[in-house]
């Protein structure tokens, strides 16, 4: 036996468990923020999240209130970033646009992660024909360029935020499915899964109790990174004029509207572009941090 002292028995088991969890969480954040730049990413993401959450409080005007006499107003105390082609307050539109971007990105990714996880588990659980069919379907979807697929689906279903989210979700699912399938297959080949099988546990329980918790971390990492991709795609589609319906403010559609006036009022184009770039960079940095913290090779005693 090894030389160890007895832990004080007075501590209740719940207490020990709680302390353990707190230690784990602390360790998680410690690794995550061990690189300074991840903090910048987290702060940036939090900043945009707050803006989206409190948009009505932050925006000084109704984003859709038209004031045609006051179009292309320059920066002023009244209109922080000036006004657009219809005299709408650009700042307010950007603030509301944050909402659209983050909401579509998050909803699309969440749905994709859940569906992708489920289907990935199904593929690895049943194997054989089911697996082959699902993988073939994935390959088919992945063979079509994402933007082309989204455009086709959009023209089929029509624009709007919900449709947009659904379509972005569909383009994200194949990646998630493949990732989950690979990850759960590798977990299923470990000895502890064999041990569970040999102790007579039924297969479904093994999947839920052992395989799912051990194979989910790459999905979480992938999800944080795919929020950014979805937002990018949303803006891209809105820029093409087939995404979010006008007059709803979206960064992509603002850029589209402002495109002809790049020379005369550069801020009109630049402001939404900068917002978009900052949010995407922040999300990617945060995603990198989460990936580092969840990487099992960096974990352990």
């Amino acid at each position: 036996m090894s030389v160890q002292t007895l832990a004080p028995e007075e501590k209740s088991r719940q207490q020990i468990m709680r302390e353990q969890r707190q230690r784990d969480i602390r360790r998680f954040f410690h690794t995550m923020f061990s690189r300074r730049i991840v903090i910048i990413g987290a702060v940036g993401t939090a900043f945009f999240l707050l803006i989206a959450l409190f948009a009505p409080l932050i925006a000084p005007y109704d984003p859709n209130a038209v004031d045609i006499l006051n179009k292309f107003a320059p920066m002023s105390a009244e209109h922080l970033l000036g006004t657009d082609i219809y005299g709408r307050d650009l700042f307010s539109r950007l603030v509301y646009g944050t909402r659209v971007s983050i909401l579509t990105g998050v909803i699309a990714t969440l749905m994709a992660a859940i569906i992708g996880c489920l289907l990935g588990m199904v593929a690895s659980f049943y194997g054989g024909t089911v697996d082959k069919l699902l993988i073939a379907a994935c390959d088919t979807f992945m063979a079509i360029p994402g933007t082309a697929l989204a455009m086709a689906l959009l023209s089929l279903l029509g624009g709007g935020m919900l449709n947009m989210a659904v379509i972005l979700c569909i383009t994200t699912i194949p990646g998630m499915l493949r990732m989950m399938r690979a990850s759960s297959l590798s977990v299923m080949s470990t000895d502890y899964i064999l041990a569970a099988k040999l102790s007579g546990e039924n297969k479904l329980k093994i999947m839920i109790k052992h395989v799912l918790p051990n194979s989910i971390s790459p999905i979480i990492v992938m999800a944080t990174q795919s929020v950014g991709t979805s937002i990018m795609m949303e803006s891209g589609l809105s820029f093409l004029g087939i995404g979010i319906k006008i007059p709803t403010a979206s960064w992509g559609s603002i850029i589209n509207e402002a495109r002809p006036y790049l020379m005369t009022s550069p801020l009109y184009v630049l402001a939404p572009c900068i917002c978009l770039a900052l949010l995407i960079i922040s999300l990617n940095l945060l995603g990198d941090g989460i990936r580092d913290a969840m990487d099992p090779s960096l974990r352990g005693a």
């Binding site: 036996m1 030389v3 832990a7 028995e9 020990i16 040999l198 546990e201």
Partner: protein, 676 residues
């Protein structure tokens, strides 16, 4: 013997790595050693002892942020080699040129996309500055020297086309082709089968003489250095704790750690009832490396003065024998006697006559597909016609090299695989082709201990739920109180503190994890436990703890073990009877002592002779049987006796017919035509 010329001399090497916020941990802490021409030196230690880091430090292979200080003098290089810096002309001349190194993994140390010939001749061209044609000529000559048949043809083959042992030969050829004066073999044979290991080391020993190189063998295996080395350095916690001539060291071990190691390792020539004496505790954590004697916490002879300051190496009465311990050998002996002779005999166990598990003509094969249409082109017969029985309370050891089918056999008995043919009788019931539903009650009676204590425990489960899972699945407990009591009982049974039940696997050490695995296997009150290489992933000092635990549990709980391992010494130590397998067939079964004293099958003889014994005196007197070739792939199984191609007694009949297992009296049975 007059002293030969000094080739490498290391003085006070300290290698540190950064650790948590500014502090640095010393992986190697003041190591000094010397290597003379024509010598084979052994550097022995467990994982974390700093033996590999030492050899890498000499070659300046330590990457930043690691730092090396000290002095390294290499013959022919002026001054301290470490002063030149790792990328200097001199350092590169030493690496590969003066000193060659072979690593553990022959798979990863060769570049898979270049032919072996290209890799060897490239090395020759770099170091000997010869032209391409000359390099090729030398490379082929070298390949021939290391025992590769048809070197002209194999020159153009890729590493993928060679077996593990052959790749290691290629590595040796590549390293020696540059005509180094020193060869460092860092666990070079650890990943290989025993018979291949013996072949490779014998090759190195022969080449030492022919090519006049000196060798440093870095290993954890005491037997290996007892057989092949001339001088030995024992390392622990980054220090050399003892050094000396191999005969001196094994005869008069002076450091408590060396003594402990020798008592903890099972030997092939052990008497049947020898009880191993494990070294208590675990090797020190690099984060909390003490500044005094590193072995203090585990030393049974420790005194207060040991804690004051690290002892210097001091000379023992024998020539060139140094030890790092304040206590003299007499003091240790006296203390050892005062502590009293611990019960040396293993706990008595009962073996009943009742046969608990019987396997009858078991066959298992895997289909082999090829081509676009996945056409079935044949079958791999992993297990061919295996029959045996185990009695209640008995331990049956199953030994064999890789590919012999021992793990497939275990999986069939566990019914993780369904055998193609044959019967598996558990207490008279055939479970070989039982449906999963009917198997459930039997699953709790036959359990398994896995090899890898890291991958066999769910990293996200707590210790308690790992051990408790079989209890819940099989409804063996009926209330929370009963469950808690049973968990505590199981934890104490395997020597784990029940307070650790809420920890997750990564918070345990390797040995403790294996204890958890054992507790899980015991939870459902099994009759048979299949132990698949249960100690091969553990350090030698921890191995003995687990082996003793398994023995004690058997005496206490009257369970039956099927002990599968490749390490013959361990199998012989723990088993009552041993079954030797080769390419899916049983070659010989016998009582453990009989097998060692009177092996019959030529393969058993060769296998036994390949296992080194950690006593140079015994080693010197042993007959060595050289085996031809390597274990063939299961795809190229010979038509007759599976061993016929490597057997020196093979006749035409052996090549045509498969011998069956015949009884040879006293529980010994052998499958060989020599004994008909």
């Amino acid at each position: 013997m007059e002293k030969k010329e000094l080739l490498v001399e290391a003085k006070n090497i300290v290698t540190t790595f950064p650790f948590d916020k500014g502090t640095r941990t010393k992986a190697v802490d003041g190591v000094s050693f010397e290597l003379r021409r024509g010598e084979i030196v052994g550097l022995v230690g467990e994982s974390g002892s700093g033996k590999s880091v030492t050899s890498m430090s000499i070659l300046q292979l330590i990457l930043p942020p690691g730092k090396v200080s000290g002095e390294v003098h290499v013959e022919g290089i002026e001054g301290n080699a470490l002063d030149y810096g790792p990328e200097s002309e001199q350092a590169r001349a030493i690496r590969g040129g003066k000193i060659g190194m072979i690593f553990q993994e022959p798979m990863t140390s060769l570049n898979p996309i270049l032919t072996v010939g290209y890799q060897i001749s490239e090395n020759i061209m770099t170091h000997l500055k010869v032209d391409k044609a000359e390099a090729k000529r030398q490379a082929i000559a070298m390949m021939e020297k290391v025992g590769i048949a048809n070197p002209e043809i194999r020159y153009n083959q890729y590493p993928l086309e060679f077996s593990g042992g052959m790749r290691q030969r290629i590595m040796i050829a590549m390293v020696l082709a540059a005509k180094p004066e020193v060869l460092i073999a860092d666990e070079a044979t650890t990943a290989l089968d025993v018979t291949t290991q013996a072949q490779i080391l014998e090759l190195i020993q022969r080449l030492t003489k022919e090519e006049d190189v000196s060798v440093i063998i870095v290993t954890h295996n005491l037997g290996l250095v007892a057989r092949y080395a001339d001088r030995i350095y024992v390392m622990y916690g980054g220090n050399i704790v003892e050094s000396g001539d191999k005969y001196t060291l094994f005869e008069n071990p002076s450091h408590p750690y060396t003594r402990g190691l020798l008592a903890a390792v099972p030997r092939l020539d052990d008497p049947k009832d020898r009880k191993l004496v494990p070294i208590e505790g675990m090797p020190p954590n690099p984060a909390e490396m003490p500044t005094y004697c590193k072995f203090y916490a585990r030393c049974p002879f420790r005194e207060d003065r040991c804690k004051e300051k690290l002892c210097d190496l001091r000379a023992e009465p024998e020539k060139d024998h140094y030890v790092r311990c304040y206590l003299t050998r007499e003091e240790i002996e006296a203390k050892h006697r005062a502590m009293g002779e611990q019960s040396q005999a293993a706990a008595a166990k009962q073996i009943s006559d009742e046969v608990c598990l019987e396997v009858d003509h078991l066959r298992m094969s895997f289909p082999l597909y090829r081509g676009m249409m996945k056409r079935k082109i044949g079958e791999v017969h992993a297990v061919q016609d295996v029959s045996f029985y185990v009695r209640t309370g008995e331990t049956l050891g199953i030994v064999g090299e890789s590919g012999c089918g021992k793990s497939t056999l275990a999986k069939c008995i566990m019914r993780a695989l369904t055998p193609a043919e044959g019967k598996i009788l558990y207490k008279g019931t055939d479970i070989a082709h039982m449906k999963e539903h009917d198997l459930k009650p039997i699953r709790s009676k036959i359990t398994m201990i896995f090899q890898d204590p890291f991958s066999s425990l769910d990293p996200r489960q707590t210790a308690e739920s790992i051990v408790g899972e079989p209890l819940k699945i099989n409804h063996l407990v009926h209330s929370k109180a009963e469950y808690d009591a049973r968990i505590d009982e199981l934890f104490s049974l395997v020597g784990l503190n029940p307070a650790y039940r809420t920890r997750v696997p990564r918070e345990f050490s390797g040995g403790q994890r294996q204890r958890l695995g054992i507790a899980r296997a015991l939870a459902s009150n099994p009759d048979v436990i299949i132990c698949d290489e249960p100690v091969s992933a553990l350090d030698v000092s921890v191995q003995a703890q687990v082996i003793n635990l398994l023995e004690d549990l058997q005496a206490k709980l009257h369970v039956t073990y099927l002990f599968i391992a490749h390490d013959l010494s361990v199998v012989k130590h723990i088993s009552d009877r041993v079954m030797v397998m080769y390419l899916g067939r049983v070659m010989e079964t016998a009582k453990a002592e009989t097998l060692y004293e009177n092996p019959l099958h030529p393969y058993t003889k060769a296998l036994l002779s390949a296992v080194p014994i950690s006593d140079p005196k015994v080693e010197a007197g042993r007959e060595r049987i050289k085996l031809l070739g390597e274990v063939p792939s299961v795809l190229e199984r010979p038509k007759g006796c599976p061993f016929c191609e490597r057997c020196q007694y093979a006749t035409d009949r052996c090549r045509a017919e498969v011998p069956t297992l015949r009884d040879h009296g006293d529980g010994q049975a052998v499958a060989c035509f020599l004994y008909e």
